[in-house]
Symmetry: C2
Subunit: 326 residues, 2 copies
C-alpha cells in the first residue's frame, strides 16, 4: 500500500537537497532566507513526489529526475508566494505569508527569483539537450497557462452570474496544468514521450477535481490555515458558489453575492456561516463532492489506458488528491 506520509518521509530529503543547490543557505538577506522561510512553513512536497514516483514507475532507476522534480516544487511555491499577495492572504500554513514577514517589495521579488530558479534547476539536469528543451518548453507553456488561469480567477470574482464552464476552464488553467507537468517531465526524462497525451488527459481530469476538493476543504477544515471560509471572504467564484447561485432564490442570490463581493477584511465569520448554510440548503457541497468523484472516476478510466506499471501510483494519487482531509 502506498502511503503519502511514507513517500514524503522517503523523498523529502532528496528533494530538499536538490533545492539547496540553487538556494544557498547563507545567501542574500531577504532573498534566499525568505525562500527557506517559506519552504520551512511546511507543504507535503506532493508535486515533486508525483514526478519522482512516476519516473520510478516508468523504470527510472537513477536520480536524473531530481532537478526537474525540485523545479516543480519551486514553481508551486513561487506561485503560492505571489498568490498570497494577490489574494491579500496574510497567513500561509499558520505562519505569516512571505510578503507579511519580509514586506511587499521583497515578497514580489522573492517570487520572481524563484520563477527563474525553476529554469536553473532544469538546466542543471543530467539529461541531453533535447530533453532539457522539452522540459523547459513544457514548464514555460505550463506557467503561461497558469498565469492565464490566475487572470480568469481574478476576473471571475467580478462576475455576478458565473457559470460552471467558466469555473472549470479557470481551474484547468490555474491548477491542472502545473500538476500535470510533474508527470509529463517524468515521461520526458524516462524517454516515454508517447504516453504524454494520456498523462495530460489524466491531469486535466484529476486537476479540476483536486481544486473542487480544495474548495470544499476551505469550508470544512480551512486550507492550511486555521481560518474557515477564506475563499468566501475573497469572493472566489468556487464551484459551490456557482452551483448555489444557480439553485437559490433571487433574494438568496442577492445576499450571497453581497457577502462574496465584500472586501475580505469586511466579511464576518457569521457571514461565512450564512454562506455555508446556503450552500448546505441547496446541496452545493454534495454537488461538488459528486462532481469531484465523477471526475476522479473519469481519471481512473484514463489510468487504465496508460501502461500498467503506472496504474498503482496514479490510482493512489487520484484517490489521495480528491479524498484528502487537509
Amino acid at each position: 500500500m502506498i502511503d503519502i506520509s511514507k513517500l514524503t518521509a522517503q523523498k523529502a530529503h532528496m528533494i530538499d537537497r536538490e533545492i539547496e543547490k540553487v538556494f544557498p543557505k547563507n545567501g542574500l538577506k531577504n532573498l534566499d532566507d525568505a525562500v527557506w522561510y517559506h519552504l520551512g512553513t511546511g507543504g507535503k512536497r506532493l508535486r515533486p513526489i508525483l514526478s519522482i514516483v512516476t519516473y520510478e514507475a516508468l523504470g527510472g532507476k537513477d536520480q536524473k529526475i531530481l532537478p526537474f522534480a525540485a523545479s516543480c516544487e519551486i514553481l508551486h511555491n513561487w506561485l503560492l508566494i505571489h498568490d498570497d499577495i494577490e489574494d491579500g492572504d496574510e497567513v500561509r500554513r499558520d505562519k505569516p505569508a512571505v510578503w507579511k514577514k519580509y514586506g511587499l517589495a521583497h515578497g514580489i521579488n522573492v517570487g520572481d527569483y524563484m520563477a527563474q530558479k525553476v529554469f536553473e534547476l532544469i538546466l542543471s539536469s543530467d539529461v541531453d539537450n533535447e530533453k532539457k528543451f522539452h522540459l523547459i518548453d513544457s514548464m514555460v507553456k505550463t506557467s503561461i497557462r497558469t498565469a492565464e488561469g490566475q487572470t480568469m480567477d481574478i476576473n471571475l470574482r467580478e462576475n455576478n452570474s458565473p457559470e460552471e464552464k467558466d469555473y472549470l476552464d479557470m481551474v484547468t488553467d490555474k491548477t491542472a496544468h502545473y500538476l500535470t507537468v510533474c508527470m509529463v517531465g517524468a515521461a520526458v526524462v524516462a524517454e516515454r514521450e508517447e504516453i504524454i497525451p494520456k498523462l495530460i488527459k489524466f491531469g486535466s481530469e484529476i486537476g479540476p477535481a483536486f481544486q473542487i476538493a480544495d474548495d470544499i476543504l476551505d469550508l470544512t477544515v480551512g486550507k492550511g490555515r486555521k481560518e474557515i471560509g477564506r475563499d468566501v471572504k475573497e469572493g472566489k467564484r468556487s464551484i459551490l458558489a456557482i452551483h448555489c447561485l444557480g439553485k437559490c432564490s433571487d433574494g438568496e442570490a442577492e445576499k450571497l453575492l453581497k457577502i462574496l463581493n465584500k472586501l475580505p477584511e469586511d466579511t464576518t465569520d457569521e457571514e461565512v456561516s450564512e454562506v455555508k448554510r446556503l450552500f448546505e440548503k441547496h446541496g452545493s457541497i454534495d454537488y461538488a463532492r459528486e462532481k469531484a468523484e465523477k471526475m476522479k472516476q473519469e481519471a481512473l478510466e484514463t489510468v487504465k489506458t496508460l501502461p500498467e506499471e503506472l496504474h498503482e501510483i496514479l490510482e493512489f494519487f487520484a484517490d489521495y488528491l480528491i479524498s484528502r482531509k487537509r
Copy 2:
C-alpha cells in the same frame, strides 16, 4: 552618424511585430490588454535595438535575432511593471502604472506572465538547439542576478551608512547584466561566442555608468515622469546620496537621512529641493557625472579590444546611454 530616433523608427516596427506573436491583441481581458497598455506607454526599445544592431554589425543579415531581441524588451518591461509595485510608483511614463490601472493582483500576474513569454520568444527562435540553450541559459542567469540586485537595492534603503561599493555591486547586478545580455545574445546567434567575455566587460562598465546617469536625471528632468526627485522620496541610496553622506557634516547627514527615510508620500517637494541643495553644496552631482564619464572612458577602452565592426555602434551606445538627456 548613428541616431537613436532613426534607429527606433527603423526597428520598432519589427520588434513590435515579434512581440505581437506572443501577446494576442484580442487575448484575455486584464492580461494581454494590460501588456499592450504598458508597452503603449512608450519606451525607446533601447535593449532590442542594441541587440539587433550588435547582431547586424557582427554580419547578421537575417531576422534570426528578432525573437531574442523582443525577449530583451519583454524582460525590461516586466521588470518595470513589478518594480513600480515594489517602489510604490503610481506613474510610469506619465500614465498610471499597470498596477494602478488594473489593480495589484493583475499587476503582479501580468509581470509573471511576461516573464514566461521571454522564454516562449526565445524558444520560437529559428536557431539550432545549442544556441537556444545558450540564449536561455544567459537569460536565466541574467534574471537571477537582476533579482539579486533588486534585493540589494531594497536592503540598501535601510542602510544609514551605505558605501559606494555597495551601490556599484547593486547596480551591476540590477542594471548592468540585463543590458549586457542583449549583446551577448547577439553574439550567440551570430556565432561569435569568443567575444562574449569582452562584451560582458563592456556591459559591466557601461551598465553602472548608465545607472549613475539615471540617478542624475532623476534630480534634473525626472525619469520618464513629470516628478523630480522620485529616488529621494523612495529613499534610494543613489551614488549622489552616498557621496554626500561621506562629505557632509553630522548634522546634514542626519537631516538627509531623515528625509530619505520618510515614506515617499510623506516627503515634500521642498524636502527634495533641500536634498538637492545638499548634493550641490558637496559636489555630489559633479562627482557622479565624473564617475559616469570615467566608467564610460573605460568602456570605450574595452570597445577598442573588440572586433572593429562593433566599434561604431558600441561607441555610439556608450555615449548615448551616459549623455542622454531623458
